[in-house]
Amino acid sequence: MGLQSLTIFDAVKGLREKKFSAVELCRALLERIEAVEPRVHAYMTVDREGALVAAAAADKAYAEGSAGRLCGVPLAIKDNLSTKGLRTTCSSKMLEDYVPPFDATVVARLKAEGSVLLGKTNLDEFAMGSSTENSAFGPTKNPWDLGTVPGGSSGGSAAAVAADLCLGSLGSDTGGSIRQPAALCGVVGLKPTYGRVSRYGLVAFASSLDQVGPITKTVRDAALLSAVLDGYDPMDSTCVDQAVPDYQAALGQGVQGLRIGLPKEYFAEGLEPEVRVAVMAAVTRLEKLGATIVPLSLPNTAHCLSVYYLLAPAEASSNLARYDGVRYGFRAEGVSSLVPMYMKTRAQGFGPEVKRRIMLGTHALSSGYYDAYYLKAQKVRTLIKGDFDRAWEQGVDLIATPTAPAPAFAFGAKTADPLTMYLSDIFTLSANLAGVPAISVPCGYSSKGLPIGLQLLGRAFGEVDLFRAAHAYETSEAWGQKKPVL
């Protein structure tokens, strides 16, 4: 097993103990990328030179005793996070050549801890999708079966971790975009509490739902990255000024005493039997580890999809209005007056799904429809959030569900009908709507050998409970030891 297969935890240990250098580690990853990336297409941009410079600096920092918490750790960044001097495309023709003059807060924090940024990962255009098939630059392949999707929108970030093309990565999650690809690629993905991580520099999709989070090989690694990512940022008005607990310390606490609710609405029709079996086995395991399993109802679950597909496109239609060909990004050629320039730029610069959501969201906000669609959806969101509040009030600490209704599906299987594709996120939407944290952790494989994910949801700012349970479960099973063959 090469250095590229290490966890972040083991890599940091090895670097500290001088078992290998950061440059050696970085080269191992770059070689792996060279060998495998053409088949997987996890990356939009690989920054070889930048990574090697950062790795050399990391080695120097170790030598000088000034190494940060992630010094020399090679990571990948979803390409909707602003990276200074490194193009940030959102996998859209609109931003194909856009080079940001600033770092997202999360990127700056990773750099400040000495991590080595290998490059930017592929996604569904502007994070809108569940398969990376909406990338303007071709989809990412699932490392477990190159004929299936990696999930999305953070499919590149999840596939890169699964295929050992980085030790860990950042994704963004608006309706499941970290957790669903993590599940489909057999890795760990955390969507933190809304307000836990700064959104400054995350290219906005739906501002009231977006969060940045880690995708890693283990829960411990997710906790390691979260310790760096989480916490107050004065550049984001919705980022909460609240102390970040010691996540590493929490990992060893086990699940003893935790009450885990099983919401019946998440085990109803539409769930593939293999997934149900794997998730129920995981729940049984958690019970054996000391958790108490309680039945639960989240009665407004059925409304999540409708609420989400009004709110997210509405916010998106507004957030994506700025791509007008004036200040940066793509501009249609050969147009000599303003309004046609706007219309052609946006028609040519955006792909079909982005346009569909812009249209949908514009409609939901337009005169005469705001109350019936947007406002109504925000009120039903109050009911959805209320379901969770009631669960916590009933003494439930965590909620266990499948992450996705099915394992990875074949390319093209759901592209014809947007609604079918939207159903891939059916179990992940509620966490974003309610603002609560949720983690996906591998819990087995389908008969075809495709990964299945268990989702755990917690109280707002209850990441510690998620890490405790997910880590206890993960270390009780050996799912993580299996690797895709590439």
């Binding site: 009004l310 501009r331 346009k355 707002a460």
Partner: protein, 95 residues
């Protein structure tokens, strides 16, 4: 009420998206299907409920009125599709 192609035209114009005849037909059908699904919400009783515009109870987040350096002009114009005289240039505006 089913979505009409004229609604789609209106929305496309508002969103500054040029759409072809096929796209108009496609979007009309697809948006109508999605909105049809969303119509379930109208049956949900939300009497007396406040909308959840923000999931967090945050209020009054402000910053001090202190100047920090702006960005070098060359850096911001580096991404401009068209520029002149230190400005972003846009095609003529016909009302």
């Amino acid at each position: 009420m089913p979505l009409k192609e004229t609604d789609v035209d209106y929305v496309a114009r508002l969103a500054r998206l040029e759409i072809s005849a096929e796209e108009r037909a496609l979007y009309t059908a697809q948006l109508d299907a999605i909105l049809g699904h969303a119509a379930d919400l109208s049956a949900v009783d939300t009497t007396g409920l406040e909308p959840t515009f923000h999931v967090l109870p945050l209020k009054n987040v402000v910053r001090e009125d202190t100047i920090l350096p702006s960005m070098p002009r060359a850096e911001i114009l580096a991404n401009a599709p068209d520029q002149a005289k230190g400005c972003f240039r846009v095609p003529k505006i016909i009302e």
